[in-house]
Amino acid sequence: MKRVLIVDDSATTRALIVATIEEMEGFETIEAPNGFEALKRLPQQRLDLIVTDINMPDINGLEIVHFVKHHPQYKSIPLIIVSTEGSEDDVKKGLELGASAYVKKPFEPDVLRSTIRQVIKS
């Protein structure tokens, strides 16, 4: 079972990402409504992937990517940024910081699923 952490401050968006991922065989999801909760989830269980929004209060997506990619224990967990267009520079920074992929919001469920498969395989 692959475990995916979904970080987004919109409950609606989280619900739709969860629904999209759970349609795939062999995946389960956990959710975090903000950066703080995301950081708290990290040591609680093994994670295979993190899907995160960028624009969130307190701790944003870029900071999560930075933290994960600099942490000796977590740096191997791949991250996918799911964010709306309009913040290209922020997305670029996220990829530079070590995120594996970017999926534009609103997303096509198929696009998100195939991106996840690709990222997890590599």
Binding site: T12, L16, E23, F36, D58, I59, I64
Partner: protein, 668 residues
């Protein structure tokens, strides 16, 4: 996606949109109230951007194109404003206000599957705002900031950093280390403290400093405070304070973070959202507990009467008392959770006032007070429409045209005062205007013409006002004719009655009118007057009771086919509950009558009962199918002695008696 999941997601979407719209409105109001819209706090602008951004994201994934398009435009405008590329102005504020209103309408129509409203005008205004050329932004980056931080700054954070440099603020890095299990609380506390002296530009969790059971954070801060001032502010915190461009020094307190956690800290992540239906369920359960508590208290009382205040009986009594104490604590806590400040209601009203005033070409200033007064969420929802009705009346018929106001020596700008205050178990909301007041002579004339008033009879001021609340009192032409109130006030009164509330009016010709709404704080658990009629016991919601009086039966006279009594300066219609519910009255000689005066606006009704048994908190439950639809019954409740009793629906009783729809026993 499974159907159920879809429904759940839609519900989630609606709840979330409602919150985000509220945030947008609140922040618009903050900007509106600031003396200079172009110098609003960056957090306010950023909060608006974030809300629009989130609505865009979630409506996009839901496939609501109209919502997504409008929130996208809103986001674009707010992005420019927060990045300092577009100045906030009154006209832009108006456009944003209309856009947010339209967004609310689009969300409602999209989620209910209706065709979206035409948002083109609103969109066009936003586009026009965007045609202003963004001013060139000069990039200035101070030396000495940790490269790792710069790599992670979002565009907006970068902009905030530059604004701080431009404002010649001191820049600091504050490094802190917290225990892992409650770092969010500790960090929020630190952030709040720092924000009192400056701006937290970014918060970077730094894994380099993290040990196995802790986590480090670096805050980039801009402040007018010099290093010494900031150090003093942070004297209780275990942090490292680095002035950027200067040398670092650590605060030397040796307090361990573990000992530092007692101070309360509010964190956004500490809040959860709960469906109000779940709270209803919990309250219902609590209602059962309240009943069990009453049963136990009753048993204890009975035991003490039999066996005296000794031994187990006394112990049980004490235990029952302590149970009572805790249950009421629990009850208060649960009700408190449902409470929201009326500020939300006022915000909505102010938006409506602005819009109506614009349509009527009247200039209005709104004064609010007591916005922090709290009311049950479902009560706030139920009261929104009647309140709007009163406001519309005040603007339409109360406040005069600019010319008229000038002529009568008033300020051209009319004033509407919305206020709220808690009084015991009730909340009083008033809508006051400084308009023309109600012309009572004309109201009387109209009442005569409509045969609501009897010629040659003298009416008190209150009785004349009472006509305003009669169904069918006002029509369009009477309204214009008397330039007064009356449009659908009967509807308002009926609505209030349903909520066990009251509406009263005070008016002075030429000076203005004040509507006073009295509402119970919650509808879930209410205080009730327990009355006896024959061998039957009934509960009457206390918020609907204005007084109880004892009268001699010889005071009762028959007018038309109705029993009435003269109570001070007005005539009170009586309703004998024993006849209404067809129960045998007690054998006690009826030379004295107990009359419970229930009032709905100026319409009052005297309920004749045999005895008043006391007051009690009750939880209203709906009655079974057998009793449903019986006029005058709101529901049932249980008393401590496990007896189920009926709760009277005061609003319906008055409505039925006044409207004479019910076949109530009238005088022969």
């Amino acid at each position: 996606m499974a159907e159920r999941r879809k429904d759940d997601t839609l519900r989630e979407f609606l709840a979330e949109s409602e919150e985000l719209l509220e945030t947008l409105h609140q922040n618009l109001r903050v900007i509106e109230q600031s003396p200079d819209p172009s110098s609003v706090a960056p957090e306010t602008l950023n909060a608006m951007f974030r809300s629009a951004h989130t609505v865009k994201g979630m409506s996009g994934v839901m496939g609501f194109a109209a919502v997504s398009d409008l929130s996208h435009s809103l986001e674009d405008v707010m992005d420019r404003v927060r990045m300092g590329k577009l100045a906030m102005s009154r006209s832009l504020l108006d456009a944003l206000g209309d856009a947010v209103d339209m967004l609310g309408r689009l969300i409602a129509s999209s989620s209910s599957g209706q065709p979206p409203a035409d948002a083109e005008v609103v969109l066009q205004r936003l586009r026009e705002a965007m045609t202003v050329q963004p001013s060139a932004v000069l990039m200035e980056r101070p030396l000495g900031i940790d490269q790792e931080i710069l790599k992670v700054l979002t565009e907006y954070e970068d902009h905030r950093l530059q604004e701080n440099v431009k404002a010649k603020n001191y820049l600091y890095e504050i490094r802190a280390h917290f225990r892992f299990d409650d770092f969010d609380k500790a960090l929020s506390k630190l952030t709040t403290k720092v924000q009192s002296a400056g701006e937290v530009i970014t918060t970077l969790p730094s894994s380099g400093m993290s040990s196995k059971d802790g986590i480090g954070f670096t805050l980039l801060v801009g402040s007018k405070c010099d290093r010494e001032g900031l150090a003093q502010l942070l004297a209780d915190e275990v942090v490292e304070l680095v002035a950027i461009g200067g040398q670092e020094f650590a605060l030397s307190k040796t307090l361990a973070p573990q000992e530092n956690e007692a101070v309360s800290a509010r964190s956004l992540s500490q809040t959860i959202r709960v469906d109000i239906a779940r709270l209803d369920g919990l309250l219902n359960m609590l209602g059962e507990l309240v009943l069990s508590k009453a049963v136990i208290a009753q048993i204890a009382k009975d035991l003490m009467q039999v066996g005296g205040c000794l031994g187990p009986a006394m112990e049980l009594h004490k235990a029952a008392q302590s149970l009572e104490h805790r249950v009421s604590g629990l009850q208060e806590g649960l009700i408190e959770i449902r409470m929201i400040p009326v500020a939300q209601l006022f915000d909505r009203s102010i938006r409506a006032i602005k819009k109506i005033a614009r349509d009527l070409d009247k200039e209005i200033q709104v004064i609010t007070s007591g916005e922090e007064t709290k009311l049950d969420k479902s009560m706030v929802e139920s009261i929104a429409d009647p309140l709007l009705h009163l406001i519309r009346n005040a603007l339409d018929h109360g406040i005069e045209s600019k010319d008229d106001r000038r002529r009568s020596g008033k300020h051209e700008v009319g004033t509407i005062h919305l206020s709220a205050a808690q009084k015991g178990n009730t909340v009083v909301i008033t809508v006051a205007d400084d308009g023309a007041g109600i012309n009572l002579a004309k109201v009387y004339q109209t009442a005569l013409a409509k045969k609501l008033a009897v010629p040659d009879k003298e009416y008190s001021q209150k009785e004349i006002i009472n006509f305003l609340f009669q169904p069918g009192f006002s029509t369009a032409e009477t309204v214009t004719e008397m330039s007064g109130r009356g449009v659908g006030l009967d509807v308002v009164a009926r609505h209030l009655a349903k909520l066990n509330g009251l509406v009263e009016v005070e008016t002075e010709l030429g000076r203005g009118t004040r509507f006073i709404l009295t509402l119970p704080i919650t509808l879930v658990i209410i205080k009730a007057l327990i009355v006896r009629v024959g061998f039957q016991i009934y509960a009457i919601p206390i918020s609907a009771v204005s007084e109880s009086v004892m009268a001699d039966h010889r005071q009762v006279v028959t007018v038309g086919r109705r029993h009435v009594i003269q109570l001070r300066d007005h005539t009170l219609a009586l309703l004998r509950l024993n006849e209404l519910f067809n129960v045998a009255s007690s054998d006690i000689p009826q030379d004295r009558l107990y009359i419970i005066v229930v009032g709905l606006a100026e319409k009052r009704l005297g309920l004749v009962v045999d005895a008043i048994e006391g007051q009690q908190e009750i939880v209203i439950k709906s009655v079974g199918a057998m009793l449903q639809g019986i006029p005058g019954i709101a529901g049932a409740t249980e008393l401590g002695n496990r007896k189920t009793i009926l709760v009277l629906d005061v609003g319906a009783l008055i409505e039925e008696v006044v409207g004479q729809k019910m076949s109530i026993p009238l005088a022969a």
